[in-house]
């Protein structure tokens, strides 16, 4: 499962930020995930429980904030939501769209002591 390498990266990013802040314990890691990224939160948490053992992030909860997919329509100039990965403007039906949200995948914040 590719969730493993991704989980390792989440751990590294969280540990690095916590260390910089002089934190002693990471309680929670908030991840912003676009609707169009294919990670299964449950697997990521399970892998995380394993790879974080013995670190200050052991036992931390991963929270996934879902970001809906949207795009800028070049035909009508407006922002439109995207459904089911379809590049079709909900306002004017145009298909000349530039993706603005939905492919994000980042560690947004950590909660530490």
């Amino acid at each position: 499962m590719h969730e493993l390498s991704v989980t390792q990266s989440i751990l590294n990013i969280a540990l690095e930020s916590a260390e910089k802040a002089g934190a002693e314990k990471i309680n929670k890691i908030t991840i912003a995930a676009g609707e169009m990224t294919g990670y299964v939160p449950k697997y990521v948490q399970e892998y995380f429980n394993i790879v974080s053992r013995g670190t200050i992030a052991e036992g931390a909860e991963l929270e996934f904030k879902k970001i809906p997919a949207s795009a800028l329509c070049r035909s009508c100039g407006k922002e439109t939501p995207l459904t089911d990965y379809r590049f079709i403007c909900a306002r004017c039906g145009g298909s000349d769209l530039k993706l603005t949200h939905g492919r994000e995948f980042l560690v947004d914040s950590i909660d530490v002591d």
Binding site: H2, A21, M36, S95, I110, D111
Partner: protein, 219 residues
Amino acid sequence: MEIKVVHQIMEWNEDCSDKIKKDLREKKVCLVNVMGSPGAGKTSVITSIIERLSDRFKIGVIEGDIAGKIDAEKIQSLGIPVVQLNTDGACHIEAMAIDNMLPDFDLDALDVIFVENIGNLVCPAEFNIGEDFRVALLSVPEGDDKAAKYPLMFSTTDALVINKYDMVDYFDFDTDRVVKDATDRNPSVKIFKVSNKTGDGLDEFLDWLGKRIEDKISA
């Protein structure tokens, strides 16, 4: 206490992918990421590409598919430099794996490297591997609902080869549906109906492919 982080999780892979792109641009080598299910015809189509485009381009191949060395040996027998990735149990190729393989090639003697990604319609699409463009294969026996079911693969590819088109009458395969599902998600995708067995449709695909490679290596 909350600390704002805002750090891309895929950065390790993206950075490596960018490095590969830069290295290959200097060497004027084009990298093509070939994706699709096990059995869709990736090795067969790469073999046809070698047979038909070798007089125009110096070709190398990276074989990521898990099934032992069968595919790599097939390609090696055509006199093409090929490197087999050891991806035991892996479900996709990451940029780092490609970066580690490139020193095995004489890049000065190559124009294009085809990477046969691991047979899987899901996660290979998530990982850039330094490619200039992507080719996704969907074979007729897999069914006409796959572009809708695996949207990321079909929304990120530059070309979609609908392979095994010689089988189209046996599988109730609704080509229009696939074309619509793919273009709705990816308005600029180029779609080719190909039978690698009879050769039908290969010319159109190879024309497009040859132009894309040409553009890259003459840039």
